[in-house]
């Protein structure tokens, strides 16, 4: 199963999804927290899981459980087919031209480490430059620092404005023939900024650099077309897009993958082994040593089907409406300030309340059943740049409701009341 056939007709997404019915697909959202209905606004950390994904995983263990790519027995064949079918679904979802380009990983973090340690160790050397941005998640900083320390390369940083937008002029100036790779996120988990990844890619390619886009915060919230972006690598995690934890994706152009050495050794990544010499398997199995997270991949396939059935355009529109309503609710609170005011944003409203530490906001809002994230959101350089220690963050998903956005205002007013 290699080349991705065009999706069998346009996904039959209804033009106006029944959002109440969709919300009912999520069992976790039916509970109360200390007597209050749960308002889950920590979607940027992880999404809730729809019943169909939970059922798919249960069915796998009840009916198909077996190891893959090994047995000749029927059960193994079924499991292998389900696993490879998930790869094809993911390829279609991000418009990859070839399903062999999809490498399953534990998540976006592992995907970036994989690329840094295979592509990076092959192509980056002393004096070369790695370019990331000021707003990266730690997962897109740490792997490059490891590579830098291993190779003697330099890590350089694209600055951002007070509003949380990349300084594109500065970016252009940073690009040079020394730039080997540009690795930036598509949507900021700390600020919600949507970066112009197509333009970023174009400029990097002009300078001869390879481009990695971290789509962890994007892929569940808008249609993604890696061919349209034009990047060379694209990574994301399953758990932020209705799939289980422990499964993620590293997409890369086939020719790039094919030229790279393996990262981890083990079963599945080899084609023949003797103690003298091991011949490595072809892409993508070359990068999937050991028994992989089979249930995770199959669960991810089910999540892709689920999101596609709603329609990514519909999801994006719904979340834009929710985010605008959420930011309005926050702005009505005296002393509240939204952190991250980029012109193009998705899903995330970070904020501070004057004189009140975000941690106290989080604890008090939780008493109202509202789940917020507080802290530096694994993006300490963002906090440093903006001169704050932490923020409170509300992040939306399509299954949230407009009423939940409105509920944030009275909850924040109660926080202020406690400290009055």
């Amino acid at each position: 199963m290699t080349a991705v056939a065009p999706a069998p007709a346009k996904p039959l997404a209804p033009s106006a999804p029944d959002w109440a019915r969709i919300r009912a697909d999520f069992p976790t959202l039916r509970q109360t927290i200390r007597g209050k209905a749960l308002v889950y606004l920590d979607n940027a950390a992880t999404s809730q899981k729809p019943q169909c994904v939970i059922d798919t995983i249960r069915r796998f263990y009840e009916e198909q459980n077996s190891n893959i790519h090994r047995g000749v027995h029927l059960l193994s064949e079924k499991a292998t087919l389900a696993y490879e079918e998930a790869r094809l679904k993911v390829a279609r979802f991000i418009h990859a031209p070839d399903s062999r380009e999809i490498v399953f990983t534990r998540g976006a973090t592992e995907a970036i480490n994989l690329i840094a340690q295979t592509w990076g160790r092959t192509h980056v050397g002393r004096g070369d430059e790695i370019l990331v941005s000021q707003m990266e998640h730690h997962s897109n900083i740490g792997p490059w620092q490891l590579l830098r320390d291993q190779t003697g390369a330099t890590l350089r940083v694209i600055p951002m404005t007070d509003a949380g937008e990349l300084e594109m002029g500065e970016y252009e100036k940073l690009l040079s023939p020394r730039t080997k790779i540009v690795s930036v996120l598509q949507v900021s988990n700390a600020l919600g900024t949507v970066n112009p990844v197509k333009r970023i890619t174009e400029l990097a390619h002009r300078a001869g650099a390879v481009v990695l886009i971290d789509g962890a915060q994007a892929v569940a919230h808008q249609p993604v077309d890696v061919q349209d972006i034009g990047c060379d690598f694209y990574v994301f995690s399953g758990h932020k897009m209705c799939a289980p934890t422990g499964i993620g994706v590293a997409w890369g152009r086939f020719a790039l993958w094919d030229s790279l050495p393996p990262w981890q050794g083990g079963g599945d990544m080899i084609s023949s082994v003797s103690f003298e010499k091991t011949t490595y398997n072809t892409v993508p199995l070359r990068f999937e040593a050991g028994t992989p997270n089979i249930e995770g991949a199959i669960g991810l396939g089910a999540a892709v089907d689920y999101l596609t059935s709603i329609g990514m355009e519909n999801i994006s529109k719904r979340e834009q409406m929710l985010l605008a309503r959420l930011e309005d609710a926050i702005r009505r609170v005296p002393g509240a300030r939204i952190v991250g005011t980029a012109r193009e944003k998705a899903g995330v409203a970070s904020f501070v309340l004057e004189g009140i530490h975000p941690h106290d906001i989080g604890t008090i809002a939780d008493r109202d059943g509202i789940a917020l994230r507080t802290g530096h959101h694994c993006a300490q350089p963002v906090m440093t740049r903006l001169g704050i220690a932490a923020t409170a963050r509300a992040s939306v998903a399509f299954y949230n409701t407009p009423e939940e956005m409105d509920a944030v205002e009275p909850a924040l007013r109660r926080v202020i009341e406690v400290f009055r």
Binding site: R34, I356, H357, P358, H359, D360, T363, I364, R367, T374, G375, H376, Q380, M383, I388, A389, A390, V418, F419
Partner: protein
């Protein structure tokens, strides 16, 4: 079921708004830094020892209401005490923070520190309340490393 009043009691809120001993000492003999980076808490603690006694103590930094109030009340509690007395107070404080749910605390022994008894009902906030104490311990031991309770 614990309610918010257990965490944000009047004394804690008062110390948060008006922290005591909230100043750097220019003549400190011991100092130490504490930080819970995930929360965005950071604390600098200054101690002036006179023999075996804490003659003066001050702190600076940023943090949530619990960590700030804890630092403030701690400085009041240990000022003038011997090193051994301060360590004993820390032990009692720590026991209060990690005691089984529903257990009463010895208010007489703990004095004002007992206002933090409710924090034990909020497990993720215990580290906020203990940061100042761990930082004090490090200052007295002179380890020079930044302390974290995360």
């Amino acid at each position: 079921m614990s309610d918010l009043g257990d965490l944000y009691g009047e004394v804690i809120l008062d110390h948060c708004k008006h922290p005591q001993n909230f100043r750097a000492l220019t003549d400190s003999t011991h100092r130490s830094a504490g930080a819970n980076p995930l929360c965005g808490d950071n604390l600098l603690l200054f101690v002036k020892m006179a023999g075996d006694r804490i003659a003066d103590i001050g702190f600076q930094g940023n943090g949530c209401a619990i960590s700030k109030a804890s630092a403030s009340i701690m400085t009041q509690a240990v000022k003038g005490r011997t090193r051994a007395e301060a360590e004993a107070l820390f032990r009692q404080f720590h026991e209060m923070m990690t005691r089984p749910a529903g257990t009463a605390v010895d208010g007489e022994k703990l004095g004002k520190l007992a206002v933090f008894s409710g924090v034990a009902e909020f497990p993720v906030r215990v580290k906020c309340a203990t940061l100042a104490w761990h930082t004090l311990e490090a200052a007295l031991k002179g380890t020079g490393e930044t302390v974290s309770t995360e």
